[in-house]
Symmetry: C2
Subunit: 373 residues, 2 copies
């Protein structure tokens, strides 16, 4: 099923005039082009830093910035405990390689991040929402993807008390609409938590800079995996970040991003209420998407096909489930990157695609009856 | 032994006035700062390309550029057969993950690239110069590291006729002093060769952009490993390369780089002849380093310690050997990145370190005799 969905998604990305409610991309409008350009110019004045090889753990000033932010949230770490990775995905890959052997079960949420599920499967692990025996837990406690949910205190305490190693994916933590960025679970369970973060959602993904704070006793092994995998994260990406962050008001940037995404979330939510009757959702606590579920069955891949024909895309719900099932029928609708003025029209097109799918479904038994000899 | 050597190397890198004959770095002086700065400015005018997420296989214009260059050398591939990787190291990691299971033997040259040896060991493979049964061959046919040797026609034909999968590491292929860039072995044995290349030696390493041309039937699996590992190579690095390459005369750049490195190689060779009597080497066909071997035994780690005390560094020979042995005593001396005026002085310091080591060795038995009761 996956290759067919990927073909559809790639075709959608090329289609002129299509309204993308897929992808989970940050808004290009929020990328600080001018400030990044200035930071790049400053970074290039030190070609050794920006263009030469660097150490596998990453540049020190950048690690110090990350450590300071985490410390302010209650995860007190020194710069040397932070490994700069080629995006959060590489941090996940390192953690899962060191935590679980082939065939092991990984506990994930009922809906989880597709690239993490793919990674686990690709490494021979078995992601399950309700595993029998798990070697590893993967979660996004501060803010989940695709539901955009923040765990409550009871759920957080349970995660902190757990026994299995935990990959804490904090990619969206700073994009909660309420502006509260919770203490990482790693602060309460440092010895078994692999804390993972990224600049991809808060600043831009194209630099490919994320981080990993492994359990202290695993630091050397994690660093070795990092080095074996690609030697080091991009020197240019790290150097430009260092120069950018020394002048940026990152807190103000986050506040603007939260307001920006919240307004879009509200707009998309209103469109769904109006144009997709019979689909339910819970308004997210933050992030980039609504998770909507239908009150009747259907095939999310077929719906995507109909939707792309009508000029809108979304992410089929099955991609987010460990078992790959498409029932209950669900979609991830991203409000983050489509033009804000197009959100309502996107959902309108989706509504028409859904109507078409239902009509075809209702016709089918009759047509089959006609065709009988 | 490795951690001690790494500590020494890190200390050396921080030491003021030290002359680095270690590291295998390209010369920062050859980095086209201004042209890269202009390319960056142009790249940022399309923030979607430079800063947003991209597809795992990499940007198409860049893949087309790579495919065209490989085709001109006889490896006729389409852009879609090229996967852009986060440096050549990631291409090696993908190839070895898909070619060999844990415990398998990998045939390498008697001296080989340390980061590849580390990678193989880290993945549970066993690198050997003379394996009993090998699952995989790793080689640098166009130009080897650390010896800087180009394989001759007979050796090339043998590699092409072989049966095991081959990782063809072409990182230095375009830096042969004679300017002849040979046909990749992959052109003769496409179905079993993983062709690996990089901009790190010819342009600069800090962008972290390399490439992998897997055997055609392995393309989908390789792409999946790439995506699982870090989603994609840096958008910024790829976008700046596209903008840079559209205006750069890359052939002229390579010609300048070859002349630049050849002059340094000659300078370093003369210094070794003059100041390290009893050490032998073969003048390299290209690349960044001389491989020098002593005609008497010694400990390369101890020599590095003495050398760093005297303000010079090098890469101990044992790092390049699958078995990690330090006999025969050998060093990799890099002429690529130290100031050209410092090469002779660097070797002079190394000569003094070697003398000190020999004197200490000659004293030791006597001292031991004195200490006897």
């Amino acid at each position: 099923v996956r290759p067919a969905i990927e073909r559809l998604q790639r075709a959608a990305a090329e289609q002129r005039g299509l309204i993308p409610l897929a992808g989970g991309l940050p808004s290009t409008r929020l990328f600080p082009r001018r400030a990044l350009g200035e930071a790049l110019a400053r970074a290039l004045s030190d070609p050794q830093a920006a263009l030469q090889y660097g150490w596998p753990e990453g540049r020190r000033t950048l690690r110090a910035w990350i450590a300071e932010r985490l410390s302010a949230r209650g995860l007190r770490v020194a710069p040397d405990e932070v490994i700069v990775t080629s995006g959060a995905q590489q941090a996940l890959a390192i953690a899962c390689e060191l935590c679980a052997a082939r065939g092991a079960e990984v506990q994930v949420d009922a809906e989880s991040y597709p690239a993490a599920l793919d990674l686990f499967r690709g490494r021979g692990l078995r992601p399950h929402a309700t595993p029998r025996a798990r070697a590893l837990r993967y979660a996004m406690p501060a803010l989940s993807n695709p539901r955009g949910r923040a765990l409550d205190a009871v759920e957080r305490a349970r995660l902190a008390r757990d026994e299995a190693p935990l990959i804490e994916d904090d990619a969206y933590a700073e994009l909660r609409f309420d502006g509260r960025t919770p203490e990482p679970i790693a602060a309460r369970a440092r010895a078994r938590v692999w804390h993972v973060g990224s600049f991809s959602k808060t600043l831009c993904p194209g630099l490919r800079v994320g981080w990993l704070v492994p359990p202290p006793r695993m630091r050397e092994r994690a660093l070795r995996k990092k080095r074996d995998g690609d030697l080091q994260a991009s020197s240019l990406g790290q150097a430009v970040l260092e120069r950018f962050l020394e002048r940026d008001d990152f807190a103000a940037r986050l506040a603007r991003a939260r307001a920006f995404y919240r307004a879009r979330a509200e707009k998309l939510a209103r469109a769904v209420e109006r144009r997709l009757p019979g689909w339910r959702f819970r308004f997210p606590d933050g992030g980039f998407s609504l998770w909507v579920e239908a009150d009747e069955p259907g095939d999310d891949e077929l719906l995507l096909e109909r939707a792309v024909e009508r000029g809108v895309s979304f992410d089929p719900g099955r991609l987010f489930r460990a078992g790959g099932r498409c029932e209950p029928l669900a979609l991830r609708l991203c409000f983050s990157s489509a033009p804000v003025g197009a959100l309502d029209e996107g959902v309108r097109r989706l509504g028409r695609a859904w109507d078409a799918l239902r009509r075809a479904r209702d016709r089918e038994p009759r047509r089959a009856a006609h065709a009988a000899p």
